[in-house]
């Protein structure tokens, strides 16, 4: 059975660490980093990336357009 797989890219330098993507992700992929970026924000990153379905929820709520989402649909076997 071909399960859709997703992945995200976070532009960490532009992330403001607002945490909205974190709560929006249905599969709890994202967390805020303990490190801060150059602007002093604890930026988001896909901690449990494998769980990503590419649903785009995180990107949809991200106010700073920091997340790009990719999806891969394996050809039906």
């Amino acid at each position: 059975m071909a399960k859709v797989k997703g992945a995200i890219v976070v532009d960490t330098e532009r992330c403001k660490g607002c945490n909205l993507c974190v709560v929006a992700c249905p599969t709890n992929v994202i967390e805020l980093n303990e490190e801060v970026n150059i602007k002093g924000f604890n930026y988001a990153y896909p901690k449990f990336h494998d769980a990503c379905t590419g649903c785009t929820n995180c990107a949809t709520v991200c106010p700073d357009m920091v997340i790009t989402v990719y999806r891969f649909k394996p050809a039906k076997a």
């Binding site: 403001k16 602007k39 002093g40």
Partner: protein
């Protein structure tokens, strides 16, 4: 005696209130004071700075280009204010988050690991009091008793129970400041 000070860092670091306590302390020992903040639209993560002048005479310009002392709490402020310390003046900074350390040789440079110390004493809100303590060690402009009076004046009544905590934070600063 006139001391012209700039305090600069991120918004939220308590830069303005540190300046305010310093100014109030000055008043408590009958000095003239002025406190002039940079101000801007409400935007998180922005920088904040305040010019504080303590003087035995009437203060004229509250806005200055050069300072006797600069207290610097982030890189942007370092970039902006290192050059504006008068030769022979003081630069105090917290190295946390500083990537380019000060390079001037004609001024006296000090550092205080206030973020770290605040973390260590388990009270990140005490950050700015630690810095203040460090500064007062270098420039004992106001007596400790007046600082406490100043604190009392600048805090609303309902926060007066925090004064002892602030006092000990100031003492941490007094102890931990280092010459660079």
């Amino acid at each position: 005696m006139t001391e012209e000070i700039i305090i600069a860092g991120f918004g939220g670091q308590g830069v303005l209130s540190m300046g305010k306590i310093l100014a109030y302390s000055g008043i408590m020992q009958d000095m003239e004071v002025s406190w002039m903040p940079s101000y801007g639209p409400e935007m998180r993560g922005g920088t904040a700075n305040v010019t504080v002048i303590l003087s035995e005479e009437k203060i004229n310009s509250p806005v200055l280009q050069e300072f006797d002392s600069a207290i610097i709490l982030n890189q942007q402020s370092m970039d902006k204010f290192e050059e504006s310390v008068k030769p022979g003046g003081v630069l105090l900074y917290d190295p946390n988050g500083i990537s380019k350390h000060p390079t001037r040789t004609d001024i006296n440079i000090y550092k205080i690991e206030a973020v770290k110390e605040a973390y260590d004493i388990g009270n990140t809100k005490a950050f700015n009091m630690i810095v203040l303590g460090a500064f007062l060690k270098i420039k004992p402009l106001v007596k400790m008793e007046n600082v406490l009076k100043g604190l009392k004046k600048s805090l609303p009544e309902r926060h007066h129970h925090l004064i002892p905590m602030n006092e000990s934070a100031i003492k941490v600063g007094l102890e931990k400041v280092e010459t660079v």
